[in-house]
Symmetry: C2
Subunit: 359 residues, 2 copies
Amino acid sequence: MMMADAGQSLGDSFSFLDPNADSCAGKSGDLLVADYSDPAALSQLAATADIASYEFENVAVEAVLQLQEKLPVYPGVDALKACQDRLAEKQLLQQLDIPLADFAEVNSRIDLLAAIGKIGYPAVLKTRRMGYDGKGQVLLKVPEDMERAWHKLGDYPLILEAFVDFNNEGSMIAARAQNGDIVYYPMSWNIHLQGVLAVSFSPWYATELQQQAEDLVRRILEHFNYVGVLTLELFNCDGHLVANEIAPRVHNSGHLTIEGSACSQFENHIRAISGRALGSTQSKQVSVMLNWLGEIPDHGQLLELPGIYLHDYGKQARPGRKLGHTTICAENWDDMRRKLNVFSKVKNPAVQAAIAALA
Amino acid sequence: MMMADAGQSLGDSFSFLDPNADSCAGKSGDLLVADYSDPAALSQLAATADIASYEFENVAVEAVLQLQEKLPVYPGVDALKACQDRLAEKQLLQQLDIPLADFAEVNSRIDLLAAIGKIGYPAVLKTRRMGYDGKGQVLLKVPEDMERAWHKLGDYPLILEAFVDFNNEGSMIAARAQNGDIVYYPMSWNIHLQGVLAVSFSPWYATELQQQAEDLVRRILEHFNYVGVLTLELFNCDGHLVANEIAPRVHNSGHLTIEGSACSQFENHIRAISGRALGSTQSKQVSVMLNWLGEIPDHGQLLELPGIYLHDYGKQARPGRKLGHTTICAENWDDMRRKLNVFSKVKNPAVQAAIAALA
């Protein structure tokens, strides 16, 4: 939806394939309701489009290959494959000399014992595929946790990762054009609640960390000859960045680029895949993004604040569902603190986390 | 379209009534194709909506009255009536003590002679109704022009207005909420080519003129107990503002508020009519809006400039048709001059007018 809204301004039209008939993208183009891998739906999509893209890393590789026979698809299938399997992803990061936590492949109880022997506690056992928002993960702190973790995840191909004791989590979003040009957004600091992104602050990190992050993401983009927006999630460990994971798409933490940057991550993805020049990622203010999970606080109260931008996706409310987000722009972090304090009585976890983080 | 795009972010949905099946608004909601006054279409529209609005001052008053029986319509019908008839509009401005050019009602050759006797040359003979973009007007410089003007327009109810010898033309866009709050956008300086808006610069005028303009538009908004966005077009005559006309709607010169102001004219119109708080009109940069009439210059060339925003409405090209616009934001007018000069070789009248104006 947000990519189409950006692309429509440039004069482009959009068709979507989504298994959900109430997908909010349907408001911004033609919606084809079918499974992502439905061959007839993919043919129909290819027939109406000049270029295809996806913004969900669990789309089947076969679906992308089917589309690729008919029209250009960005990002390419190599990046998708690497990001669908945590093991392949970690091996790639290692190959590109990008700092990351120790890891080991786990396909049996014996593997798990050996992996713990190598990595030690605390460690995180994760499914290699289909994990997101903290799902498919178990933290192992003591030997007694092992059996519980195996019982829960033992049916899947797994990976054990050393637990990273980080100061904060951040993301580096970058876009690469067909001609190889790259633009980098200012890094954001991300706060997760129950495994789901709740708040992002941007630009947050100092120049030194920004340069580290740009260097790391550039290696990934160039390795894949990538076209489009890619996000590298990072841990900040006392001024050293450690890669967490790669998302081959626009990112929730980049929603604040709609108002916070000259050209948003969504417009830059569309510009990249359509062979246009990339737009400026410059940011003249500081921004906070609050994710609305399960419920959106009263509009009236929110809209009274100057420099606030509400995005209500118009979805049916369900506990924990992402229903929208709000970006607040301010002159600087002191100004932002004052703005956020207006909401100190709003009983919303994202709002409270943002206020606490800036306190 | 642009109002719906702003309102969708707030979680609102839109239905449109438009006689053109290819109306670009159809991309942003359900499009009902029928005449603005079609009673069945109006009933259908009313049945699907909670609130109605219009952004074209030549909608029939009867259509608005029909809608009003079913649901709230903003702005109210009094403002619409006054803006549909140049004579009523001028009388209102006079009543509100807003400076304006001399004028006289003209319904016959005798009236025209008397009006010229009162107003003198140069003067402009205009149809009272349905004029826009310089249509339905004849400039009278010498007595010989009178017969030609009468021959062209004599079948319509007319008004003769003194020609205003202005330094520049500008617009003051303001929004009034249901609770009476008013926000004012920075005034813009507007350049017309062949009667059609080609370029707007904002914020342009000094504090003193901004205050004059806010005072004038406030009188109009309060007179009508107006709800929504209203535009007062003004002439700057050596530091004194003279009213030109009122547009009871968002305005072409305000398209630059999408990127140039914290909250756009479109979002503020939606906020106002839906009873929400108004958003900040603050502008941290300077902006230029270039109207694309008849053709849009090559996208590739435009998109390479940082801080440029292309809006391609996706319409079929026709000579003189408004196909889109582009906003350029810059730190200050020196920076803007440098940015515009990048396009010095683009053979487009709006681009050339903008460069010449800032030279």
